[in-house]
Amino acid sequence: MMQSSPLNFRRAIIWIGRLVLGGIFIYAGYSKAFLPNHILWPLFFLKFSLSTNLANFALQVEAFKMLPPWGVQFVAHTLPFTEIILGILVLIGWRLRIWASFLTLIMLGFFVVVLRAYLLHMDINCGCFATPEPIGPRKILEDAALSALALLTTYFAFVEARKPHPWSAPQPT
């Protein structure tokens, strides 16, 4: 009978990482592109403007003072969709090692950027989600925890991939 690999610590972390990181990335991208404003339901669909929302997100990106205006516009117009796509790919687990590696790099990038803003005493919002969140120790810890989870998930995904699949034929002795 074919069966799934037995659940061990590494596989449990991979599962948690996929669900948590994938979910957070999808929501983060979705909220940047679709929810940055406060509008009265049900007028949401009548008033919705993606270009306005992305231009609004550009203001958040610019607040970090790390990129020239063209770089700000590029990040603002690509990051939300990258997050959504990467989140979906990690959540469904297809080519997990590749996409988890990308997600980890992006997560580490977020952590460095937020830590830099905190150390420079920049009084700005992180722009992580739709709602304004000031950068403080709590946000740093959140990002550090998520970065650690992303690193572990990716590392364990590589480790587990080296093992023979339970459905594969037994190795000749």
């Binding site: 009978m1 074919m2 069966q3 799934s4 996929r18 669900l19 994938g22 979910g23 999808i26 929501y27 979705y30 679709f34 929810l35 940055p36 404003n37 406060h38 509008i39 009265l40 339901w41 049900p42 007028l43 949401f44 008033k47 403007s49 270009s51 306005t52 231009a55 609004n56 550009a58 203001l59 958040q60 610019e62 607040a63 205006p69 700000v72 516009q73 979906i88 959540l91 469904i92 687990g93 009084d123 700005i124 919002n125 739709a130 709602t131 304004p132 000031p134």
Partner: protein, 220 residues
């Protein structure tokens, strides 16, 4: 493949799919919940003395500001001046000053009172400029009165002092503070943009070039 194999295979495929479906449902429901819980509060209680531009402008910018906050000074001296020149004067933006004196600043409440008093005598813009331009001086000495007196005539200054002593201006400042709390303002400067029934809050100093792009999108 036996029936048990099929069930096993189905189980291994359906768990991620179920997780994804559950997550999407949670996101959708939470999004709708957030929408239902928020309202695009109309711009009310506007003191025309502290506003600039046309009331009928397609975009309204409410700037929650503290006269003793350095970032508010930067926003005023750089970005908002360009907004005044290019958007307010052309009728595209209605710019409203909102007082949000922070408790951490010893003299910002007094500065807000003086600016409100100056607004009552039609001199808000002059006093606002003087307070921001000389921020480093009066925040050291606490001499808000002297800073304002330097840009007003003696007659105007007497009116301003009388208004400040009258104590009625605190109610106006409290109204702005209450409105700020409604928008979840927790730092200064915070700018709240309104256009076509939508509300966009932004905290911090904005780069004019990026802001211009945003205003152009809003105005479309």
């Amino acid at each position: 493949m036996t029936g048990e194999d099929c069930v096993d295979r189905l189980r291994s495929v359906s768990v991620p799919a179920l997780g994804l479906a559950l997550f999407l449902i949670v996101v959708l429901v939470s999004a709708l919940g957030v929408r239902a819980g928020q309202s695009s509060a109309p711009v009310t209680d506007v003191d025309p003395h502290v506003a600039a531009g046309s009331k009928n402008a397609p975009i309204v910018m409410e700037v929650f500001s503290d006269f003793q906050c350095p970032a508010c000074k930067t926003l005023y001296m750089t970005t908002n001046r360009e907004v005044m020149d290019n958007y307010v004067s052309t009728g595209k933006v209605y710019l409203i000053h909102r007082d949000f004196p922070l408790p951490m600043h010893a003299h910002s409440q007094v500065a807000a009172q003086y600016s409100r008093a100056a607004a009552q005598v039609g001199k808000f813009e002059v006093v606002e400029q003087a307070l921001f331009q000389n921020q480093e001086k009066w925040e050291q000495t606490g001499d808000v009165d002297g800073t304002v007196a330097a840009v007003l005539s003696p007659a105007e200054m007497n009116k301003v002092r009388a208004l400040v002593k009258g104590g009625t201006l605190n109610a106006l400042i409290q109204k702005d503070l209450a409105l700020g709390r409604l928008y979840n303002v927790n730092q200064t400067p915070t700018t709240v943009f309104h256009s076509k029934g939508q509300t966009f809050p932004y905290s911090g100093v904005m780069n004019y070039e990026i802001l211009r792009n945003f205003l152009d999108q809003l105005g479309k």
